[in-house]
Symmetry: C2
Subunit: 168 residues, 2 copies
DNA sequence: CCTACTTGCTTCGAATTCGGAACAGGAGAA
DNA sequence: TTCTCCTGTTCCGAATTCGAAGCAAGTAGG
């Protein structure tokens, strides 16, 4: 793999850095607002938003984990916090006693409804306001392709001996 | 601000989610590889890469912090780890005794050179391979505008009473 | 029925991050 | 000079994350 590494062109390098910086700044700003308005971290908001969007407001722990956190234990921790605040409830599934079904409470729905307008306004102000006509379509097109490719390429296969210690 | 929140169109929502998911998966995959190949976290690699790219391989702590971490203390922690491994050195500036100048060692340069090909290959495989002709230019164009807008809009002004506790 | 294997979630220990407090070196005014 | 800010770094406590290990529940084979 030392022979065929053509490197990245300046434009590729700039695009790579731009993706990382934009997402980082966006998440940081959005997270700060969510904490200020609803005392919610970005991860907690994502969990609640997913539940609100789900049929009957119920999802299994495993389904919730996908795309939000990269470990089950992290979700257990966050679910514990949300449960303690009365924003969700957890109960065993009658079909499969192993499965924990998470349900949004009315309080949780109310909190999401209360912080959602500000959240949307933040995203619009930071991400979409500076865009020109056609930028949105172009961005969706490109990132849609990239996302589909990433989902089809599980990252696990590439790191057989990654010895990560602690939080990433 | 409750009257004028038109929400986000489905395409905007999709683009927003795509940005967050792509960057998250990309960072996760790249981080895993950096740890496997050089026992470096993504943040540590960013610090070393910045130093290698800087004139004389030297930067002040404050300049390093901008864009890498969101707190000075976090940079101090990482600099301590890199210093302990002999990848950087820290010394006071003769001009201003307050300033700490960070310098990459030969060992640090060697490590960056060793992990850079794999890092570049990861970025290419995950981010650029699925792109079609013209996608790169479009992405650079859009995100360049967004990034410039974000840099001109400091996030501090929008969260006067954010009471964050611990890591974000 | 009983044993082996898999799946789903939680507990535990370690690592990383942040904000604020504390500390030290310069710059300017009287 | 001395006093008062300002800049820059480090220390500390709290919060969040991950991986590994442990435990309960379901599934397949004999």
């Amino acid at each position: 793999m030392t022979d065929e590494t053509p490197g990245l062109s300046p434009e590729e390098l700039g695009a790579y850095f731009a993706v990382m910086e934009v997402s980082s700044l966006l998440q940081y700003a959005v997270d700060a607002h969510l904490r200020a308005e609803g005392d919610l971290s970005y991860v907690q908001f994502q969990i609640l938003a997913r539940l609100v969007d789900a049929p009957d407001g119920r999802l299994r722990m495993t389904d919730l984990a996908d795309g939000v956190v990269y470990s089950r234990s992290g979700l257990t921790y966050q679910a514990g916090l949300l449960d303690k605040r009365g924003l969700i409830t957890r109960s065993s599934s009658p079909d499969d006693e192993r499965v924990i079904v998470v349900t949004v409470t009315d309080s949780g729905r109310g909190l999401v409804a209360r912080v959602l307008p500000g959240h949307v306004a933040d995203v619009r102000r930071l991400l979409f306001d500076p865009m020109a006509t056609g930028d949105l379509a172009a961005l969706s097109e490109v990132l849609g392709r990239v996302r589909a490719h990433m989902r089809a390429t599980p990252p696990r296969s590439a790191k057989p001996r990654a010895k990560r210690r602690g939080a990433g």
